[in-house]
């Protein structure tokens, strides 16, 4: 076992991990934050997406030892108490959640996208979320939720009539 120190959702943690333990298994098993999901465990599905030092990563393809000294944000780090992050609120109001298994990864990818590009086009959203698979709904409502969250966060993508300039009309 190896001792590592890292920041998860603004809290410092010191945990013991195996050298070949993934960041995903450490987050779920050692830290006890089970919002981050294990789907394919091989970087294909995106259910395990977390943000490490400002960039989205598949936590199944990062060793816990590689995260020593790094700063991680998981789905649990987005809300402020009872107040949901705009992405979480938009996923609910747009009906972008069915079984919910892909949702934490979807939201973390969307957060990384909006952090670097606050007003993405529909195409940019689809490209930015290409590493996250949903097997329930298709992607229309998920894209609509990210567009809505971008509006909630930025609020300046409406034209004079109050309609969205791009994306699906609601």
């Amino acid at each position: 076992m190896v001792k590592i120190s890292l920041i998860i959702n603004a809290q410092p943690w010191e945990i013991q991990v195996e050298p070949d333990e993934t960041l995903l298994d450490a987050i779920r098993g050692k830290v006890g934050l089970t919002g981050t999901k294990k789907g394919c465990d091989s970087g294909e599905c995106g259910a395990c997406t977390v943000i490490m030092n400002g960039r989205s990563v598949n936590s199944c393809l990062v060793l816990a030892v590689e995260a020593d000294g790094q700063e991680i944000t998981t789905i649990e780090g987005l809300s402020h108490g009872q107040e949901l992050h705009p992405l979480q609120a938009a996923f609910i109001s747009e009906g972008a959640v069915q079984c919910g298994f892909c949702t934490p990864g979807m939201i973390m990818s969307a957060k990384a996208l909006l952090d670097s590009n606050p007003h993405p086009s529909e195409q940019q959203i689809r490209q930015g979320m290409a590493g996250n698979l949903c097997r329930c709904t298709g992607y229309g409502r998920i894209v609509a939720a990210v567009e809505k969250a971008a509006q909630l966060i930025g609020g300046d993508r409406l034209d004079a009539t109050g309609s969205r300039q791009t994306g699906n009309q609601v």
Binding site: G46, L61, E66, L113
Partner: protein
Amino acid sequence: MSQQPFQYEAPQSLAELWSTLDLGQDGTRFLAGGTDLLVKYKRKQLSVTRLVDIKNIPDLQGVWLDAALGLRIGALTTLTDLAAHPLVNEHVPVLAAAASKMASAQVRNRATVGGNLCNAAPSADLAPPLLVLQARIKTLSAAGERELPLRHFFAGPGLSTLRPGELVSEVILPLPEGNTRAVYLKQGLRQAMDIAMVGVAVKLKLSGSLCEEAAIALGAVSPVPLRAESAEQYLKGRKLDAQSIAEGADLAAKEASPISDVRASALYRSQLVAALLKQGLQQCAGILTEGEN
């Protein structure tokens, strides 16, 4: 992960790396982005007894211009950084475009230039554009450094000509001349997260519609990414028109030796080579014509 865990080390410098590296030990692996290595390890396709994480070594990082050599790209440059880097976009935009189309944002944030090459997949998306850009590979080992053309780097599927204890430190690109244009076209089932059935890179030096020089590289259609030399020689000195483009595309398709696998049949791949190359030649010629007006 239920296998015998490996020993993990993360040297902070080359000196520390060479002082601790034990070449007598089978199963010593260098770790960069890990997006290929960790998947192979989990699938028990790779035995690892000692994992040496090279990500903290400064000598392997950065992108910079060298007046004598050209653009130098550190092996640890991630695909995200490659796609966004101003020098890459200014001098070799084809490489930035190729990187931006690979895998997913999450994978691009970890995967590295050196890793994509060392993994030596016949379908590696960086290989065709780097081959037409005449990339050279700089390697380092405890014995010193060496430099070789990228075309001598690949030895077979998953195999490179790296020696034990040697790692890729940089990719070096001579700056393309002003009147050259290059494109990389790949075909997969999806636009993202897919391994190319075929990848084709084209670089043309044109004078009007006359092709002064052509460089063409093919991915995923032979054991190693290769230059389509007979098509290059045919196109050199020729006027680019419908007939010469079709003939060049056919010649390139004959140089490919694809296999049939889960992604596509050999026949389909051969036809894709011709179709993508035709498109690539037209795009390069079209872009240049527009640029000269």
